[in-house]
């Protein structure tokens, strides 16, 4: 039973990170029906900016959780800026183009950003300073859940509550939901659709940046390539849960996290990825709209 619980918690931690990144995919897809392939790269850029800030701080002798918060804030600012610019350059000129065009543009952007960071920084793995202290009160349970896991779980939980509030309660959130329902209608009632789309990218990128910094401080290293696999997995999570649906992204992230964790724990980690993608294919065949997604009838 202990073993099960350990795997469950491991999957929960991993899944909550997937969920954070998946939210960005799902929100963007909900509004402009585009797989923002470069989203994983935004996550990586977030982690890298966090590393740079945290690195400078530790080199100049600062440390502790306040540095982590500072790094996270910087990561959010820059990742959002990248997300915003990404949309403006690579997707906005392609609105109304055939569906394949923005998708290819997104893949191109993903390759570009990866190599941009590779060239501007380094191909090596850089250590991320250990900024999360071992909390005293965690000591009795450190056996299966450590302080970093706790920080990840609490942060993602709080972030998701804030996001839900933003979408459900504020005017901006209403405008976002309206745009998601029907873009031309939203435009008619005076919503600045372009701004809402930009905002969606900014919010999605900020979430990815939080995920990036959390993961970086959890596993303690960053390089230019971490965005690819994380992005693919998070997108898988978004599709699993039902792309376009916010609770779906969270659920999808957790389901994927648990699948991988249990598969590795009870079967074999050799085929971890095979399980993840196998699950995706299975879900898409049985329930093409995902677990929580609504079948969206195309208007004929």
């Amino acid at each position: 039973m202990d073993y099960f619980l350990e795997l469950f918690l491991g999957g929960l931690t991993r899944g909550s990170i997937y969920a954070l990144i998946a939210l960005g995919y799902t929100m963007v897809y909900g509004i402009i029906q585009l797989i923002n392939f470069a989203h994983g790269e935004i996550y990586m850029i977030g982690a890298f900016v966090g590393l740079i800030v945290a690195g400078i701080c530790t080199i100049y002798g600062f440390s502790g959780i306040s540095v982590l918060i500072l790094a996270a804030i910087a990561a959010i600012i820059w990742a959002s800026a990248y997300g915003y610019t990404l949309e403006k350059i690579a997707y906005r000129p392609l609105r109304g183009a055939p569906r394949l065009s923005p998708l290819i543009s997104a893949i191109g952007m993903s390759i570009f950003l990866q190599n941009y960071v590779l060239l501007a920084q380094t191909s090596d793995f850089l250590p991320f300073p250990n900024l999360i202290p071992d909390f005293e009160f965690m000591e009795p349970v450190a056996y299966f859940i450590g302080s970093p896991e706790l920080v990840i779980l609490v942060t993602t939980f709080v972030t998701m509550i804030l996001l839900t509030l933003l979408i459900k309660k504020t005017k901006v959130g209403k405008a976002m939901r309206a745009t998601q329902q029907d873009m031309s209608m939203a435009r008619l009632v005076g919503i600045n659709v372009d701004r809402i789309i930009s905002l969606t990218f900014v919010i999605g990128s900020a979430l990815a940046a939080i995920g990036g910094v959390l993961v970086a401080s959890y596993i303690g290293q960053v390089n230019f390539y971490i965005g690819f696999l994380a992005g693919v997995k998070a997108f898988t999570a978004a599709v699993l849960g039902g792309i376009g649906s916010i609770p779906g992204a969270v659920l999808g992230g957790l389901v994927l996290g648990w699948t991988e964790s249990f598969a590795a724990g009870y079967v074999s980690s050799d085929y971890e990825d095979v399980f993840a993608f196998g699950l995706l294919v299975l879900i898409l065949i049985l329930r093409p709209a995902g677990i929580l997604g609504k079948a969206r009838k195309q208007k004929v």
Partner: protein, 265 residues
Amino acid sequence: MAEKHKLLEVKGLTMDFGGLRAVDSVSLEVHEGEIAALIGPNGAGKTTFFNCVTGIYNPTKGDILLHPKGLPTRRLNGLKPNKVTEMGLARTFQNIRLFSDMTVLENVMIGRHCRTSAGIFRSIIRDKGVRKEEQEIVETSYQLLKKVGLAESANEFAKNLPYGAQRRLEIARAMATEPFLLLLDEPAAGMNPQETGDLDQLICKISEEEQIAILLIEHDMKLVMNISNPIYVMEYGKKIAEGSPQQIKDHPKVIEAYLGEETDA
């Protein structure tokens, strides 16, 4: 005059989307040689009805029966759209769906797909039969373009055609599948009176010369009144009236539905 052959018979068709009932037990018949019409205000469920008949949606309840002449009756429920088309039922779309990066001629040639047979291997070898079939496709398609008055623009991209011409191209493309029943979804939408008049004539011509029965959805009552009989009226997913143009004109519910809409607009 003897009883005309019944081509399409829809009985109690119902379509739900989640909790919303878009079409509520609608029945309808189209006979040989008829130009039937389905009218109603916006959002009455006409297009949904069409989509059910042509296989794009699978209806929740009801029967869609096709009685091709000289062949056994077929139930269309749940059949894939391409099977429905193969059976002899072709359609156009309300918001034009042409293959915009293909030429006008190629658009019509696509319609010939289900009436021709060259597979992958024969397409590679390109034997005599295939070459002949290709010729036949081009030939027939060109004739159809002539019929709808688009022969001149055969080599233009479909997306570059003027609006009215695009509508006519859709009709030509549908006719290339050799249907015995043609479903037209708001063919006159967005046309000026001159173009609408031409379209009137085209539809009548198709009906007479090609022996194709027609079921059309129309929003504009005037067009329908001139050429169709019988007329079915839908509102809020339900059929509220059916009959000849005269009967429809005087039907109190129809007047109500349309007057109500008139004040809305």
